[in-house]
């Protein structure tokens, strides 16, 4: 029975990784998205994985979220996490300039590990409800996102503002990338066959 139920689950899984410094609200965003609850107490995450069935533009898919530890000391292990991801939500807190600065490091590491400049990636400024404590201006965040050629979204895990948006936007990116990749491989195959044909000719 159980195995049958699992078998009926949608085959498409989009793997999302939450990255960012400790305490910026990666887990809070994830929990808000998963269970629609806001956890006030802060407890550093080690590494948690979530999976949820969602409907993305009419299509039933699964999202697999890897909530990483902001305080992970092992760089090698961070690499391992990143390798398993298809898309990244790079989170910082708009109330903490340092967390914003750290996003550059995360971006660099992800690009290095994935070896792909166009990896689905969203720059997320969390804690937008704490406008009065803002340290990172909309301008500088937008500028950085523009420089990286990625979207920038401000969220609030507390008020749930834009929480669904960032996950769905990222999934769409991942989906389009996957489609492109399959087309490309198909195209390559076509080219190859053409080439082969040429040689035959």
């Amino acid at each position: 029975m159980a195995s049958k139920a699992k078998a009926s689950q949608p085959a498409v899984i989009h793997k999302v990784i939450m990255v960012g410094s400790g305490g910026v609200g990666k887990s809070a965003l994830t929990l808000q998205f998963m269970y629609e609850e806001f956890v006030e107490d802060y407890e550093p995450t080690k590494a948690d994985s979530y999976r949820k069935k969602v409907v993305l533009d009419g299509e039933e898919v699964q999202i697999d979220i890897l909530d990483t530890a902001g305080q992970e000391d092992y760089a090698a292990i961070r690499d391992n996490y990143f390798r398993s991801g298809e898309g990244f939500l790079c989170v910082f807190s708009i109330t903490e300039q340092e967390s914003f600065q750290a996003t550059a490091e995360f971006r660099e590491q992800i690009l290095r590990v994935k070896n792909d400049d166009n990896i689905p990636f969203l720059l997320v400024g969390n804690k937008a409800d704490l406008e009065d404590r803002r340290q990172v201006t909309l301008d500088e965040a937008n500028q950085r996102a523009h420089g990286w050629n990625v979207p920038y979204v401000e969220t609030s895990a507390k008020t749930r503002a834009n929480v669904d948006k960032v996950f769905y936007d990222l999934m769409r990116e991942i989906r389009s990338r996957k489609m492109k990749a399959s087309q490309q491989s198909n195209g390559q195959k076509g080219k190859k066959t053409k080439k082969r044909k040429c040689t035959i000719l």
């Binding site: 159980a2 195995s3 139920a5 699992k6 078998a7 689950q9 085959a11 899984i13 998963m34 080690k46 590494a47 948690d48 994985s49 979530y50 999976r51 949820k52 890897l66 000391d73 092992y74 090698a76 292990i77 690499d79 391992n80 996490y81 390798r83 398993s84």
Partner: protein, 684 residues
Amino acid sequence: MADGRLAQDLSSAGYDPEHYVSRLSEEGEMPLLEMKQKVQILSDKTAQELKKNVYKNYSQFIETAREISILEGEMYQVSRMLTEQKALMTSMLEMSLVSDKAVAVDEPQKEAEAVNPEEETRRNLAFLLEKVEGVSSVTEVPGRQLVHNGDLAELDMESFNQVQKVHMFLLNDSLMIASWLTNRRGPVRYRFQGLYELDNLAIVNIRDAGAVKNSFKVLMFPDSKIYAADSAKSKRQWLDILEETKKKKLARDKQKKEAALRLAEQQNTGPTTPKKEEASKLDDVDTAKDAMETALLGVDWLQELPENLDMCIAQRDFEGAVDLVEKVNSHLKDCQKTPAVKEFRARIDHRVKQLTEGLLSELQVTAERSLRGGPRAARRAVAQLIRLGKSAQACSLFLKMRSTIIKYNIRQLKFEGATSLYVRCLCGVFFSSLSETGREFHKAFPQLLGCFSAFIVWTKTEMENFITIFKRHVFDSKSSLATISECVSIATNHCAELANGGLDVGFYLDNMISEELEKAILESRHQIIESIKFRAGEDQWRPLNLGTETECSRYVDDMASVGLDIRDSVYNGCFISLTLNTTQFCKTCMVLAQSLLLIHKSEREALVTETLVLVFTEQVRHLDVSLASEKFKNDKKFILKNSQYILEVLMSKIEHMYKTQSILFPPQLVAVNAEYRRLKSLVS
């Protein structure tokens, strides 16, 4: 000598009073009387000695009692802290029931390993060999140990369906996965599947969702796997132990790296030591030197010293710790500055730092610790700090602590009732604290003359603080001159007492309050003169009539309370042959003179004299005017009588006051005294 023998005789074990007395009485009356006298002297002496001893015991008792009361407070605090900690621990236990057990299970295992790691390893790995197929390469690595193992189910990454049952072995440096053998032969149950280095392993907890429960992900590049445990508890245990083992391995690697680095450093510094000819030789010379160093450091007590030092510090046996430090310092002094010695030195230095911090915190005044730390405890910490050569720090902390104590004690005083009463308490507390600090300082910092200047500076600041409070209460509260002078004289007396003990702070007090004091004198003088002028205008030169005899005697008593005798002036039961003006003036003058003389100082002499002279002159002017006035033509005799009382009786009283205070009666006042003769001549 005879007394001594007598005492000995009387207190000897075989003393038989009847026999003794009968033997004495045999010889007649004289020796008996003599004996009686002797016994009397002995008893007096004994009584005196007893008294002395009681006195000594008494002072010791007081000191001990003080220490005990302080100790009691400390104990109370300790017990409160302990309860707090206990509560904390229980709540922590409740919070992590599962992980706590895991650690508890782990602990004895670790201990066993520590006892005989080699054997344990062999046994562990033998167990592996027996159970798992194809692990010979795994077991060959020396130092590898089994940390944890258990059955898990491997799940499919995508669908979460169970793929196979596995057994996971966590070794101290890697994670080994073995799959179940379905057709088992003999004791072998599993087949080796893979060995993964812990460094490159990431463990991810999977939140329970739907059918997937108690599972976690292991990322090992390039692939990753999901395993499910059979219970939440078992999963928690796996996650905790995995993380802990990873941490341990990281720490171990770090240590190894550092050791390697040190080794490299050692080899680098080797050739640069002054003895180049030695270094130019082959490696074995180096090793020989190393061996020598190790021998030098190889002494048992030296090797154990860092641990012992740690233990002493942990047990707060500061004396023992300092003893050890001194011992090792004297030992290492003769050693060459070789890298090994340097390293050892660094280890010791680190602990000395810890020790110093511990001692300093002993002296630190913190909110949660009681302010009344026993003076002995402080002295002890200070003594050890001095031995460690940190006398300056000890001194400043010690004084800071004393400051807090003084502040605390002053704050404990309640401001109620008369100003002079409060000031008396304030002075009592402050000056006794000051002198106590002085005594403690003497005991704690003997021979350290440098520290004494710090003490003087401290005294000055404390004194300034005190005077600020003093001034606020005495001068800002618009007290009368009598009160002010009483307060000032209390403080001055305390200062004089301190000066007797060798600490002269009186001049601070004087410097800082003289301005306000002079202002107060001037103000009071002005008031008195104004009131004299006012009363002069009203004076009708009538004898004072108090109506009844009781009223009269009460008035007489009232005057006597300030030191004036008017009994001779009473007539007809209720009449006094002086005017109200005169008696009031006399009273005011007496109080004024008393106050002024209380705060008399050579620097203020001119002001004091001038004040008294001016007050008298004002009154004399009134007498002059009255005598010359037509209105009081018939009262001249009466006026003269009043004048006599003021200028002779009152003045002689004041002169007497001067004398009892052994201050020279100023000639200006003598001149005022002569006015009476002038007035008399005016009449006749």
